[in-house]
Symmetry: C2
Subunit: 435 residues, 2 copies
């Protein structure tokens, strides 16, 4: 049969295009070794889908192959109704571990950690610790990493850490207490994954121990999980900057209904906000009626404010996310954006004036003073861009100050705010200079 020759590479390539039935069939056609590697590389969602549709015997085998943290992810990814049945397939010990992991949120340290770390007593000798690790290394799936050993007291409180490298470089008869490091970087079990990622980045760590309120060690998070976290968090942030809710699933995978649900909320809020532009314009109807040429520059002026505001909010939100800007820096940010707004607005104002002076502006009657009109446009642009940079940079800081997510001050939200204000600035300048 020709389809017998399917390899893991082809299956992975075609995965997204396959129906559920094809996926299961394809998976079952893989050779044992390939199937194992393929299964481990799947996302927790895909693993859950696959396992649920296998025969009961196979289901148990595949589920039991996973280390507890991955098994917990799989069960969390499965539909509510299957979770208990899946949990019952695990052996007693693993079930207890997995149940404990399931109590954590997926995106906090406790939900990312593995409980399979190397524990030693402080009075153990270095050579004893090394041969203990050697034994553990022989049973491949027993430990998440052998590169650190964690020194615990009888109450499971973390006393110190020794890297394998330190053990290896120390005389065998020393005790662990003598060689361990006590300058510990730990994460609380409820630390959110974004802070956790920053911890890894700041300290260049391979693994971080997770502790509870009493300092008892619960598990470790390893750096390979953190690379995924950083990418995932960046994606969520970027989607929020784009003016929508974070999808939490790949774009081509998420159901169309969910995709729309994540997008329509912000779109509707922005739309309602933008309705105020109509009200703002209505209140300047006399000026509009008297001088229709003003209409021509409405989109130009308000969008310039929106663009400069988008830049400023994007810069500040990202700088806050990576820890470069903190609340107490607000005055330094405000000063920078004040200068930026004036300079950038001035430059756009000059380009705008050049356009008016050089190109023909139809509808501007000869009786109107071209110089005053140019001045109106230049002043409005400077004012609108300045308002954009200030609003765009201060809004994220204000949201953080109020305990909200700064990323909600997305470029589209700032643009909408600036649109309404931009109309007021433009027509106020026009009223003062042209009427």
């Amino acid at each position: 049969m020709e389809s017998k020759s399917i390899g893991p590479v082809e299956l992975r390539e075609a995965w997204w295009l396959l129906t559920q039935e094809d996926r299961i069939e394809g998976f079952q056609l893989l050779e044992a070794d390939d199937a194992e590697e393929f299964f481990f590389d799947l996302s927790a969602d895909d693993q859950a889908e696959l396992v649920i549709h296998l025969r009961p015997g196979a289901r148990r085998i595949w589920l039991r192959l996973l280390p507890p943290d991955d098994a917990a992810d799989l069960i969390q990814a499965a539909d509510e109704e299957h979770r208990d049945a899946l949990l019952r397939l695990l052996d007693e010990n693993t079930r207890r571990e997995v149940s404990a992991l399931l109590a954590y949120e997926e995106d906090e340290a406790g939900g990312l950690m593995s409980s399979r770390f190397a524990r030693v007593r402080p009075d153990m000798r270095v050579d004893e610790a090394i041969s203990y690790l050697r034994k553990q290394a022989l049973s491949t799936h027993e430990l998440e990493t052998i590169y650190y050993v964690y020194v615990l007291d009888p109450h499971q409180r973390l006393l110190g850490i020794a890297s394998f490298r330190q053990l290896f470089a120390s005389p065998g008869e020393r005790t662990i207490r003598e060689v361990m490091g006590t300058d510990l970087v730990t994460a609380h079990e409820e630390m959110d994954q974004e802070s956790l990622a920053r911890l890894f980045a700041e300290h260049d760590l391979l693994a971080v121990p997770v502790v509870d309120d009493e300092g008892r060690m619960k598990g470790i998070v390893t750096v390979d999980d953190i690379v995924d976290v950083v990418e995932e968090e960046a994606t969520e942030d970027i989607q929020k900057y784009g003016g929508m809710a974070a999808l939490e699933e790949p774009y081509l995978r998420i159901g169309l209904f969910d995709l729309l649900r994540k997008r329509v909320g912000w779109l509707a809020i922005l739309f309602v906000g933008e309705l105020f532009t109509a009200s703002a314009l209505q209140s300047f109807q006399d000026q509009l009626g008297a001088l229709t040429v003003l209409t021509l520059f409405i989109p130009l002026i308000i969008s310039s404010g929106g663009n400069s505001g988008s830049q400023a909010s994007t810069l500040v939100i990202r700088a806050m996310a990576v820890g470069e800007v903190r609340l107490r820096d607000w005055w330094r940010v405000a000063r920078r954006e004040l200068t930026s707004g004036l300079v950038l607005g001035g430059i756009l104002g000059l380009i705008g004036v050049a356009r008016i002076e050089l190109g023909p502006v139809l509808g501007l009657e000869p009786s109107q003073n071209l110089v005053r009109f140019s001045l109106t446009i230049a002043l409005s642009l400077t004012g609108v861009v300045l308002f954009g940079t200030i609003a765009g940079s201060m809004l994220p800081l204000l949201l953080r100050r109020m305990g909200l997510d700064p990323a909600s001050a997305s470029a589209p939200l700032v643009a909408t705010m600036v649109d309404v204000t931009g109309i007021v600035i433009y027509f106020t300048a026009a009223t003062l200079l042209l009427f």
Copy 2:
């Protein structure tokens, strides 16, 4: 003297606020151990600034403390005029290594790698390899990692890899050739750091060997460097999405002139693009003059297209950056966005009609048909939002197809395109339905 009591924590906290002189003074006040840790934790830019302003003796000591890859980063971060002098401070061997590293771009695999990896011959025995590693582990700064050994032939070509864990779990008398893995994941020396990060994420690796065109091994990149890379790349992408050039330096650190330079380019391009809205409006001046109420809804309609376009472009650009969407998926993306545009546009259209039917629209003369006006608004919104989602999602794919950076199709660029088109759609609908 009281200022003698300054610790590394306080110095780090205050760092950004300090002048160059204060930084150097503060650094010199640290205890030797603290100073060393503090120095290693600094960015390459800060290290360079510090080292250049120390006395020549101290300069040499600090520079020589760094492993070759970090020394290369420091020298790359220093101003052109200092680089040769700094290079001359290194000892012969390190200078050769650092010079080789300096030949690579900072953001490619070769520029991130360390040349201090553990090399073994295939006919070495496992216990020989372990005791070789033990010797290396004793001299702390000799190897970047002891967790993998790399098996090279006499021409330095990579034959296989053994993890320390594998060695440790194997009988001592086996040869390396028997235990090494030959299913290798390698990176070419010119692989860009974004692809490299994806390689780490896909394979959950701690280190990746870097090879040249002939398969000769040049160094290794370790995962702790990759966490920084992922964060850095996300920041650059996010800044491009926000409609500006990537800053490449922290927001509060970059000089004001550079900050403005990175922002003004796109802002001016968008402004010039937006000038076409004035031309578009000008060509509909008859309709505008006859029915000024049309003016009121211009910002509402064009910004709705801009917002839906921002969402679509953000989604697609990010999905392409993390590898979820490829060029050949364009038709699936187009179909999704066609449906999304129709549904989202329809919903906004309904809200718009509700506003017109429920609230008063001043300026709409009783002779005008309210139903036809509502229909104009609803149809325009649907059309504009649909155009936004299609343009926003297809433009990044088109740019990639042409070999350009998809992230250039930023939300502001899409919004500008949609502004001009939105005016045409709106006034075409109005002309057909109201005149």
